[in-house]
């Protein structure tokens, strides 16, 4: 349970909010690189942290992210033309470069310096891996570029997709921290999904529906360990890292690629879910990549030409009671991503946490909220930089291991939960 005031604090991410200021201390996924594939690509509307922006790539291949609306009359620059090193408004031809600087106002005399005083607010936009990352904070607070492993392995080892989720970012993130739903909501997929099935660890999941949980702090967030019974004298541990503010990695299964998510607020009632799969030491196979594109694993099948899932709230997520009855899909909704989205969106655009009835198994969520609250308040009141911006905070892995019962996952898995280039993930 949270008070209404705390719920407001944690869920609102606009420019004048405490959590909005927190998010503005991080590099955030703003687009997939495929959305601006080449110089002079058509511009793309981007809404991020409740700010309406336009992204484009100029003739030199440079990326720009700036206020969507022309300084002249407020027309959307989405209708503009990208050419000759800038983005020109379709209305009266005002032209901007990637920094938001107006470089031409056609109605002014040839030797006018008028445009030098016109600049749209702009933010840095850089490509790291398959993602274009934006930083919406003050320049003096800009952190180092993202160091997450999935964007630094070779291109053939990684795949990222994106989907629109019609809910506040926090209830989506909390689904990523909450390991206890996996044995229920996703139980059907452990046996059938091409990116999950066959791992020995699945048997531990399916034979122990009452996991124990251990939550430990990390420099950038948390490690949440879910413990299930394994062979005599051993436990099966699934360790999920959360890096502030909204990055999680799902514990791996066998030699399947490792997957995870980044939840990015669009506004207070919508978020983007960036979903990745990568393998630390080998290329993804053609079958794996195709399965990801087809919406298996933690990805979604999207309406062609969009990032909206085919299964969405307008069609009841194509719920199928027959597969619910048979157990093929525990909830009757196909696919792990949409199983999560359907329930998280059903909570309402911003779930009222003052009405919750949490249980101790929700301790990971409780602790994550606590860390977010503390960081947002410390930043607002004292300017304290939040955790999760430093490269070492981001060099974490998930892990799935079998340990003797007396061993602590915190101590025994120090290496397993750290990025080690060229070393396979720790997985069962």
């Amino acid at each position: 349970m949270l008070t209404s005031e705390l719920n407001e604090l944690l869920t609102r991410t606009g420019p004048d909010t405490a959590m909005g200021q927190l998010f503005r201390r991080y590099w955030l996924p703003a687009l997939l690189a495929e959305e601006l594939p080449e110089p002079d690509s058509p511009p793309v509307r981007v809404k991020l942290l409740s700010e309406r922006l336009i992204a484009f790539r100029d003739s030199h291949g440079r990326y720009g992210l700036m206020d969507e609306f022309c300084a002249h009359r407020g027309a959307s620059l989405w209708f503009g033309r990208v050419a000759e090193g800038g983005l020109r408004c379709a209305y009266h031809g005002w032209k901007y470069d990637v920094t938001g600087q107006c470089v031409e106002v056609p109605s002014e005399p040839d030797n006018s310096s008028f445009c030098s005083n016109v600049k749209l607010r702009s933010y840095p936009l850089v490509r790291v891996g398959d993602i274009l990352w934006a930083y919406l904070g003050e320049p003096e607070n800009q952190p180092p570029l993202p160091e997450f492993e999935f964007v630094h392995v070779p291109a053939e080892q990684t795949f990222t997709s994106k989907r629109w989720q019609e809910s506040n970012w926090l209830q989506a993130l909390e689904g990523g921290i909450d390991s206890s739903h996996v044995s229920w909501l996703h139980s059907g997929q452990l046996k059938t999904d091409p990116l999950f099935k066959g791992a020995k660890g699945n048997q531990y999941n399916l034979s122990d529906f009452k996991p124990f949980f251990e939550v430990a702090e990390s420099p950038g967030g948390l490690f949440v360990g879910a413990r299930r019974n394994a062979e005599d004298g051993h436990y099966y541990w699934r360790i999920t890292p959360w890096v502030m503010p909204s990055f999680t990695v799902v514990p791996p299964r066998g030699d399947h690629p490792v997957h995870g998510h980044f939840w990015v607020p669009i506004d207070d009632e919508n978020c983007w879910v960036y979903t990745f799969d990568y393998h630390p030491v080998r290329a993804l196979t053609a079958q794996e990549r195709q399965a990801m594109m087809d919406g298996f694993g933690v990805h979604s099948e999207n309406i062609p030409g969009t990032y909206r899932p085919v299964q969405n709230k307008d069609n009841d997520y194509l719920m199928d009671r027959a597969t619910q009855r048979s157990g093929e899909n525990f909830s009757g909704v196909r696919g792990i991503a949409i199983q999560d989205a359907s329930l998280q969106e059903s909570m309402g655009p911003i779930v009222d946490r003052s009405k919750e009835r949490l249980v101790p198994a929700d301790s990971g969520i409780i602790k994550a909220r606590q860390k977010l609250r503390r960081a947002a308040v410390a930043l607002r009141d004292h300017g304290t930089p939040p955790p999760g911006t430093e490269p070492e905070h981001q060099r974490v892995r998930s892990a799935a291991v079998v340990l003797p019962r007396h061993e602590s996952f915190i101590e025994s898995c120090r290496d397993a939960v750290s990025v080690r280039p060229g070393v396979r993930q720790s997985s069962v």
Binding site: V215, S346, G348, I366, K367
Partner: protein, 158 residues
């Protein structure tokens, strides 16, 4: 039958439709019992117990695996104190409270009472305290922030 009303399909997940959710008060937890297992843990629990709580009851340690109310010296019957409890919260800073942890933990196991262990990381003994609590606590939180105990109790409506 296909849904025909807005509120009979998933599109009802709007802020406007949220107005029609039943607004009955949420009942508090039936009861949390909070056990401090060692001296420093008891100091922390005393500070937390001073806040307003719905039904939570707080206990200190008396040595020899016995527990007592925070105020008073006579020990209590752990089993009787767990009557009507939803959860037992075990608070430790070191493995010194192993006997009390075992005593409370075994009672909880026998009664089917949920257990949560909160280890406040005050130093080298924290991981040993985690190991001590692991057999008894279904949920374990290792934290450097004693306010997490209050956060957990608040979230549980204690």
């Amino acid at each position: 039958m296909r849904p025909v009303l807005l509120n009979s399909c998933a599109r009802a997940a709007t802020a406007a439709e949220a107005r029609f959710r039943i607004d009955a008060p949420i009942v508090p937890s039936r009861g949390a019992r909070v056990f401090a297992l060692d001296g420093p843990a008891e100091e922390i629990v005393r500070r937390i117990a001073a806040r307003p709580w719905a039904t939570a009851r707080f206990f200190g340690h008396a040595g020899d695996g016995r527990v007592r109310p925070l105020v008073g010296v006579s020990t209590v019957d752990i089993s009787a104190e767990l009557d009507g409890a939803d959860v037992a919260v075990l608070v430790a800073t070191s493995p010194d409270g192993a006997r009390a942890a075992a005593a409370v933990g075994e009672h909880c196991r026998a009664r089917g009472t949920m257990t949560a262990g909160l280890v406040v990381d005050g130093g080298a003994g924290a991981l040993d305290a985690v190991a001590m609590l692991r057999p008894y606590a279904r949920v374990l939180l290792l934290t450097g922030d004693e306010d997490d105990i209050a956060a957990v109790l608040t979230a549980l409506r204690a």
